[in-house]
Assembly symmetry: C2
Homo-oligomer: 207 residues x 2
């Protein structure tokens, strides 16, 4: 496509670098912004730029946060003696939107995957172990996608943490095996938290 403008070309390239946005869609978005007042683009750019520059990680759980601690860690109405371990923020949001879980979270930032070069030291695991050192945590729920990498991560974590917490559970396998947690429907996801069972090393999928 011939844009007759380097500025337009750069803007189209910027949009089409995002996942799921092709050149034609990118051009439509750029021409949409061109038609709107300049302030519309200014406030769009402002929101995206500020979000990325100012966003923080909660220093306790690794959730995204506007401040040092996230709204979930600061919420006194929640049960902070239960920690739900999730792979990423999308999974945390998915569980939050079921409205069923009222405990705390811990965001790993990924799962152990030797193929992708992700070992335990790349994940937010040390901070999780430290949270258990105080002895105030009664239960750790493994809400990790039931994939090979997820299973490996659950196994690793259960070995690491079993001496530090009375109960380690995993979410019920209502979620289909091999699937990604973030795409499960809310009902299935809610049930799988309600039906959580004690984690057993020898029969990881028995629950």
């Amino acid at each position: 496509m011939n844009f007759s403008s380097k500025l337009i070309e750069d803007a189209v390239k910027a949009f089409s670098s995002l996942p799921g946005i092709g050149k034609k869609t990118a051009l439509r978005l750029v021409l949409h912004l061109l038609q709107e007042k300049e302030e519309v683009t200014a406030s769009f750019v402002q929101a995206i730029g500020v979000f990325r520059a100012d966003i923080k990680q909660c220093r306790v759980c690794g959730n995204i946060s506007d401040a040092d601690l996230c709204t979930i860690c600061l919420d006194k109405a929640r049960d902070h003696s239960t920690i739900c371990v999730v792979e990423n923020i999308r999974d945390l949001m998915a569980i939050e939107s079921t409205g069923l879980y009222k405990g705390a979270f811990h965001v790993l930032g990924g799962v152990i995957s030797p193929i992708d070069g992700v070992g335990p030291e790349q994940l937010n695991i040390d901070a999780l172990a430290k949270r258990l050192n105080h002895g105030t945590i009664k239960e750790v729920i493994m809400a990790i996608s039931p994939t090979i990498e997820g299973e490996t991560t659950i196994y690793y974590l259960s070995k690491l943490l079993e001496s530090k917490v009375p109960v380690i559970t995993q979410i019920a396998r209502g979620v289909s095996f091999g699937g990604e947690l973030e795409y499960a429907d809310e009902l299935t996801l809610a049930r799988s938290i309600a039906d959580r069972v004690p984690y057993s090393v020898h029969t990881p999928s028995a629950g």
Copy 2:
């Protein structure tokens, strides 16, 4: 959806204000930017912000341009005695990407539409009339979508310009009637430029 972050919420709102982007897609884009390095977002924001602030209109034809004159008006290899009148930049780009047309353009910025309160004075028509005053233009091609408003605009322009230019043509109606020009396939669009016929007031669709 509960975002637990005002910054994320604002960024999601910003993306979902764009046409064709819903809340779920917006969240996916925001979380994608969050995963990438901060510079990725910075350069994205830079490209979009700069484009909107610095983009100019070509002072001759009304095309978008990085400078005072657009690349088409500056191109000495093109035939500047033929002007192709289009409704908007999308239509200009569609014709340019056929690779067939080697003349100049004139972008109206819309069509006459009394219902939408768009009269001739809101469009880039004065500048078109002035371009014809020099007597160097041999042909004006009406490449305007064959809708009611498009027909009205073609009629208005032909009456206004007929004394100033030897030939007024319109693109062949290979484009289906009532359709929008920007969605025509390139072959149909290329043929409709090759098959252009003299404009006749009494039988506007006879060509």
